[in-house]
Symmetry: D3
Subunit: 288 residues, 6 copies
Amino acid sequence: MQHEIKSFIACDADFDEARAVIFGAPFDSTTSFRPGTRFGPAAIRNESFGIETYSPYQDKDLTDIKVFDSGDLELRFGSPVSALDDIQAHTKEILDAGKLPVMLGGEHLVTLGAFRAVTEKYGTDVHIIQFDAHTDLREDYLGEPLSHACVIRRCHDIVGDGHIWQFGIRSGERYEFEFAREHGHIYPTGLEGVRFDAVDDCVKALAGKKVYLTIDLDVLDPSVFPGTGTPEAGGATFNQLLSAIMKIGSLDIVGMDINELSPHYDHSGASTAMACKILRELLLAVLG
Amino acid sequence: MQHEIKSFIACDADFDEARAVIFGAPFDSTTSFRPGTRFGPAAIRNESFGIETYSPYQDKDLTDIKVFDSGDLELRFGSPVSALDDIQAHTKEILDAGKLPVMLGGEHLVTLGAFRAVTEKYGTDVHIIQFDAHTDLREDYLGEPLSHACVIRRCHDIVGDGHIWQFGIRSGERYEFEFAREHGHIYPTGLEGVRFDAVDDCVKALAGKKVYLTIDLDVLDPSVFPGTGTPEAGGATFNQLLSAIMKIGSLDIVGMDINELSPHYDHSGASTAMACKILRELLLAVLG
Amino acid sequence: MQHEIKSFIACDADFDEARAVIFGAPFDSTTSFRPGTRFGPAAIRNESFGIETYSPYQDKDLTDIKVFDSGDLELRFGSPVSALDDIQAHTKEILDAGKLPVMLGGEHLVTLGAFRAVTEKYGTDVHIIQFDAHTDLREDYLGEPLSHACVIRRCHDIVGDGHIWQFGIRSGERYEFEFAREHGHIYPTGLEGVRFDAVDDCVKALAGKKVYLTIDLDVLDPSVFPGTGTPEAGGATFNQLLSAIMKIGSLDIVGMDINELSPHYDHSGASTAMACKILRELLLAVLG
Amino acid sequence: MQHEIKSFIACDADFDEARAVIFGAPFDSTTSFRPGTRFGPAAIRNESFGIETYSPYQDKDLTDIKVFDSGDLELRFGSPVSALDDIQAHTKEILDAGKLPVMLGGEHLVTLGAFRAVTEKYGTDVHIIQFDAHTDLREDYLGEPLSHACVIRRCHDIVGDGHIWQFGIRSGERYEFEFAREHGHIYPTGLEGVRFDAVDDCVKALAGKKVYLTIDLDVLDPSVFPGTGTPEAGGATFNQLLSAIMKIGSLDIVGMDINELSPHYDHSGASTAMACKILRELLLAVLG
Amino acid sequence: MQHEIKSFIACDADFDEARAVIFGAPFDSTTSFRPGTRFGPAAIRNESFGIETYSPYQDKDLTDIKVFDSGDLELRFGSPVSALDDIQAHTKEILDAGKLPVMLGGEHLVTLGAFRAVTEKYGTDVHIIQFDAHTDLREDYLGEPLSHACVIRRCHDIVGDGHIWQFGIRSGERYEFEFAREHGHIYPTGLEGVRFDAVDDCVKALAGKKVYLTIDLDVLDPSVFPGTGTPEAGGATFNQLLSAIMKIGSLDIVGMDINELSPHYDHSGASTAMACKILRELLLAVLG
Amino acid sequence: MQHEIKSFIACDADFDEARAVIFGAPFDSTTSFRPGTRFGPAAIRNESFGIETYSPYQDKDLTDIKVFDSGDLELRFGSPVSALDDIQAHTKEILDAGKLPVMLGGEHLVTLGAFRAVTEKYGTDVHIIQFDAHTDLREDYLGEPLSHACVIRRCHDIVGDGHIWQFGIRSGERYEFEFAREHGHIYPTGLEGVRFDAVDDCVKALAGKKVYLTIDLDVLDPSVFPGTGTPEAGGATFNQLLSAIMKIGSLDIVGMDINELSPHYDHSGASTAMACKILRELLLAVLG
């Protein structure tokens, strides 16, 4: 008899043969409104057997690619500094083995840990494509610079102007929007709703560049993704996000994450099922 | 004093005068993910008093048509064979009385029982129009041929090639999609979302034919219908499904069902209210 | 040390300097299906700290306008007559101080109390713009004329023909729709979904007129607003309602309300967050 | 084919042969905290098929007694006066046919309607045995004398001193407790918890008297009955209430009710299952 | 990097060194009321990290014993015959390796599969100690002999009279109680509540005998265990069950199971936490 | 018009006249299992209007004592150090004004902040009476010394041996129980359940001493208090805790807190109602 392995559906390859490594970063200590994203990665794995491995959208199948799932990191609640250190170290280990890190949050702050490892390896000319409802560009939050509300600002501290590409944004303070316009590329959501047309321009501009992709799942409309800490009306549909992902899949992705699933806030399970489907499509778009 | 009757709103006609007969098939033993559809029919009846009998879309009223509601069948849990037999027998009784059977699932497998009775009466040149997120075309599921995941395949066993018309499909194994393309008519969901344009062609092609209509409510997007066992992102809106139903209402419908409402998974009650409204529009489109 | 004040986010101005006054009308005694809207106003205040004060849609900020929040009225459950009297008196007090009343329901019946005060002050040539899923034009409901299902009919009793403008309506009895067409302006929802194009015509027609704006939040689709007593499929998106609000903000609004949030029916909190965001946009559109 | 009958389990006797008549009084308009008891009677009927008809406690079976279930009254929300009138009329009809009225609330106010009919028939020397967490002895509530918080005070208005027997009480204003001690019999809950010992004395004292039994289910501890509007810690266990019911069953009961189940507040369904079991035991104790 | 192992807390021993083997039997197809126990075993594993490995009651620690967790069986929904065969085969494999099988249900029917394997190995002089709210002694349920409601009757078919010891029973048909008294040992629950005093006698009587222990968790009161398909008032407290388990732990246990956790029906998670704690105490009592 | 004040029921005294000051410490960043206690203080205030101000247990009324509620502190999520500093400073301010601090958590770690201020003022001969399911005596948790699981250990760091009195404990690591027995007074929960008899000895021993009282509400059984992060079976009843509180009320209490209500995990609201009632009784026992 064998121990049963805990992995995302069909991501049970041997480490050596795997091209990508999934891991969970169950951290939510800086969440400012409703915590619970620590349960996100486990929920995604547990519920993933409810979806198929085959994508009719891409005509690709997870059983045809090799992915290893290393499970969840054990992070120190209440200590963003040590949590980010642990995430960075784990990401570095994956990168050093020549594999693609695929992180499951947790709150959005965890992106900083993985991004540090990526820029440590590839230098600071890495671009970030961010799907999100919120700018996450605060200088600090109630005095705390290591907060989910500041994570992209901290990434900007590393890579500087022109490297941040933001889609789906529809919430933030006025000065954050100003910062975004001055120092990065922002395509905010307007009266007509989320528009991802500019993804085409972005993909063209980033051809040949290293790209880190971070998807805060609250970029989706609360109707299709209520299970998150800060539901923000007026978001993207599944099909909009799927199309964008398929385009971005052609770029040179050196790291990626999806985050901010807080499964206990959606008893219907539809949010977790959505996260599973997005992860399947993401893996297939980048690796398939 | 009278006993209170348990019926869908305004469907309390005498049996003899009724043109259609509603009945519940509360069976969910083969459900592969989350069970609970056994509570669907009762929920639809109980909550139906929360909607109006009048449809402003069709300018028709349930109080103007005659429908009898025979309540729920008592089916043997854990025994698909006997459950399907009981459904078939009840459907036959309705058909023999010259009335239209309108079944409320239950999991999708129940369609097979009703469809057998329909083909028993009308022969095997009956067409199935299926609205669904899933192909349901597996040869078997974990070795079991009588599973909700195989129900349309079992119907195909009876009527053969060219008789299955599938709309809204966005999940299945690769071989199921291949089977659908080779042996039936499938209009799968793509990046642009669910498209029901081809319903027009279907309606034209089936003029004068006998048609069985089966609506797995998970064809709807989980945002408007989270209360189901396997929520599948990227589905239809209410208005899309309504338009399709109104077109199909002109065909020679010889049996129909709606299924896969699992009310306990949506505490808001919106899923049950949706099922009630779909049933109202369906009855009015076909009988009104 | 100070007592903490209970107010909608950033609406903590002094009464004297305030241009508008928010108050809650937590009444739901005539609700015919699922009660619970009495908890709406408190939920909106409590959860409002989860949204930003800045609107990227309008590029305006709540911190730049002066609003006073007088908290919730204490209304007598089971007594529509006295509840409406209390609402009317409170609204009158606000109007007499030269400020704009902004009421948070409660069930839709509460609109009648505020509207009476408005017409008491401004006369009966006040127009009502109503966003709603339901006509609310019944003569009575089970014999009761003071019911949420009759509230607009009662307003019509005051202002007469041509003063009611209804958007998003998709439910009612046949005679209510006929009444609406004969005595007011109705733009019902059809197969293509909610359409608010006619808001432009309405805004043009009402230039220079006194306008009372009432938003029954069930005008929104249940997917984005499940937390309400009578979820009605086929409703508006957030962006549709937002656009309409921004247009109407240019009119001479003399009173307004949002109502029918029943927070306990949406455990995800997305419905309450939606109500908060709508209220923010409404305040900014009218006062910003 | 037959219409399916809506009744509590095994309570489908013909009216003429029945010794008791169950009916629902789905009214909750004066509820001061959380409404929803209007859904109580329907929930009890729907879920009653989840319990057995046989009681091992009493070694009696519901199939051995004759009970008729007349369904739910259609009461006017927002109008306590007319609701009570309708309840009184229906109870009178049952009494006039020589049968025992068994009412399912609804909020506790509904007891007044049934009690009026009982005293109309039997005169004012009828005693009330009340199980409840709350005294319900207010003179008025926010000025309203017809409130759930005043219902026993209104009954006292009819029958006067010495006719009210209160068990399980643990909440109220100071003056209500004083009133209870002066004008009736109260056995309040103390530090040692609910004690029903005095039920023996009560039963002895009331031998040969007409008795109306009203059970506000919030007399039970919230741990075993969370599904109610005002959960009040420190209540009775099931076994305590069961023992009391079995003793009281020997008295000359001329009317009875159970009330205050608010099923939507307990998603586990345990509260509704409890109400079903209490009703079964009550029917068996009085009629078996 | 290693794959993460899915196991109950601290039950990650190597197979060879393990004295006991845990496995899940996620089957619920014959459930007659509310299904969902298929999610029980996974919930127990996932949530087990929320409890400590140390028991202050027994002063023992899970880290001091060797247990292997083989994960969940993949059972065929809708097919009790093949599900029981698979359970029997897996149990046999564990027994053949000289280890103790510890099964996590699933509905109670799964006990039959494990019990068959146990009697296959040890002969038919094996005694069953059953903790349960229900007799489970029906001859058949709606004609189906392989139902959760018949499971102990099926076990009796194998071992005959005098081998069934039932504690906590408080629901069933009259004839089931009669059968229990005639053919086994039953200690039903009375007005004074659940009493497990007779466990002492039972333990004395079974000294030296082979014993199979089956705990239907609905033996617990719904207040402490609402997350089950058929909550039955008047059950055991945690401390009562714990005491009984510690006594029984001294017997020669040759197989055991806990079953009927339906986690989705208790959003608080307390039911799952209870199941985890019972399993910890059970393992420590028998193996520690 | 006045702004509405946010306070616990009847705790709206002027600061100067108040004898005690309530404040919220909505912090949960170190929670190791399920976060959400940050919503505890607000829930307690919001729902407190659902209980009476009068206690029949103590025959005292909140309206007869003077308490000020200063609202919630704004604490920095993810930063235990600064959160504790802010709590300490606020507590100091209350103590300096000669009033009793009454803190509402938040996770249990917050106790450390208040306790520091108390010992700063009164020296280190202050005793702690702790009601809790967990020892909270870890040296560190995953390397973090400022964790909810270590809070009493940190208090012991300040006051040393013999000053910690622990009741209701039933979970912890083995070494924590050993530490408790060696360095403090522990009355753990055994097979007979929680026993608070020793409270009498404790009260006798502490006569004339300064006492800080901390109540982790998970000392209560999950049946009566499921709304907490780590529900632990086998806890206290309401009446047990109430009796203990009334005895302790006679001591020289110099600070107190209740903590660990996580309201989102109990949709019935019973846990929040329990917390409100405990707070009422606590205030009356100490100040009444």
